[in-house]
């Protein structure tokens, strides 16, 4: 079986706080707990960016955590989905235009799902992450299509035979 078949059944989540107030972070923790139980979608919180599929970001991006956020995003393998959690991750919220805040995650990395609210309720977070699942599936399909195009056999009739051309150039000497 291929890895991509399982990706939809068990996406792994990476959580990063880019300068938020901890409010959304404890709601993410509450999602992992028995009442909301995000693990029924096969999701698990992992600390390693190289193994994860969904990046959950909270907080307005502060100037110091900006580099870490981009670094973590670039370390994640394709396909990957970014979910903004809380209004300050979406647009800056109450922290917008404060001197050390950049205001919004989407200025630095591409964002797929916006979950608003201050703080975002666990139901909203689950809704957003399930939405991210369908995007993840779409991205997986798009990647597979490009791989299929590459693997198609070369049709002899339409392609230039480079070896013959090269031989014809070399022959006169």
């Amino acid at each position: 079986m291929k890895l991509s078949a399982f990706r939809k059944k068990s996406p792994w989540i990476l959580h990063y706080n880019a300068g938020g107030c901890n409010g959304c972070d404890i709601e993410i923790l509450a999602c992992l707990a028995p009442k909301y139980d995000i693990e029924r979608f096969g999701m698990i919180n992992t600390g390693n960016p190289k193994q994860s599929d969904i990046l959950l970001v909270t907080g307005p991006v502060t100037k110091r955590s900006r580099e870490r956020l981009v670094e973590i995003y670039s370390q994640m393998p394709e396909p990957k989905v970014v979910v903004c959690c809380g209004v300050c991750a979406c647009s800056g919220g109450v922290f917008r235009d404060m001197y050390n805040c950049e205001g919004g995650v989407d200025q630095f990395i591409p964002v797929d799902v916006y979950v608003c609210g201050c703080g975002a309720r666990p139901e909203q977070i689950i809704d957003g992450v399930v939405e991210a699942l369908s995007i993840l599936e779409k991205k997986t399909k798009a990647m597979e299509e490009t791989v299929q195009l590459k693997n198609q056999p070369v049709n002899e009739g339409t392609q230039l035979n480079r070896r013959n051309t090269a031989a014809a150039i070399i022959q006169p000497q």
């Binding site: 706080n17 992992l32 502060t62 870490r68 922290f95």
Partner: protein, 362 residues
Amino acid sequence: MGKQYEIPLGAQHISLLEPLHFKFTTENERIVDTQANLFYVHRGIEAACCSKFKFRQVSFVVGRVCGLCSISHSTAYSQVAEKLVKIEIPRRAKYLRMLVIEMDRIHSHLLCLSHVAENSGYEALFMKTMQYREFVMELLEAVCGNRIQYDFSIVGGVTRDLKPMVAEIILKRLKIFLPQLDELMDIYKNNWTLSLKNKNAGAITRADAMRLNVVGPFARAAGLAVDVRNETEDLLPWKEVGFEMITETGGDAYARNILRLRELYISKRIIENIIHGLPESPLVTETKAFPDGEAVARIEAPRGELFYYAKGNKTQVLERLKIKAPTFSNVAAMVEALNGNEYGSAPAIIASFDPCLSCTAR
């Protein structure tokens, strides 16, 4: 002497809720030196409160300093602003503030305990504690209208009244919570697996705690009787509602767990007393005065003493607002307490300090 290795922990790590960075120098897996690097989440709230927002709006902004103890921040600011505009708030508002602060303390302490259990590698206990914590989030939603970020205290009083039906639900749910708390107490006290990671881990002596100005549960677990609720009577009448000082000896992660659980019994008692003896009065004192002069206010947040200083100049915008968060006082002792422990137990020790970096860095 063995070879020394430097091991970083953070800024992004599975065991950390928020970005902080520790650099451990280890020798044979034992930490000999620690460097803490905390200020990743500095947002500039103090500057914005003195320039962008009017003084009545600031109580909503400082609530966003920290999601865990937002009620402590907004209450402390409200008290400071009330001193500046020179008003006395109604008695019912004081009691309602204390009610929400204590409910917030229950949720914060249980979150910290579950986090210690998770970082000690005891996933089942994490799940159990989080499950038992959920009732207080529902109650907070019933009282304030939101699970976190309550926006309950404003300058002059509180925003919402406690409905009799909600008060009844709180009493009923606290009755269900009591046997669950006993069960948690039994597990955290007697479980052998948990004691391997928590007993004698991250210990600090009473003398060191006093020298390094430790506050909150961290200090009380080391035997130091430090609690703002015990010291101030003028703003919130804590002793009227049955506050009692609790201290533990030992100062290690185990003592901090037990201390937090014992404080929950006191919180439960305070909530019940408040609901039974809630005085009748209006909720808000209206005033049109502008802030003038200087004032300070102290309040016991779940992590320790929270200190607010404000200065007004008879305009809508404050001249200066200074916040000193409890974790800021504890950083020096945190670094000291980590030295000498095994590297493997470092995440559990850090969780047992219950650090709140968004308070510290603001």
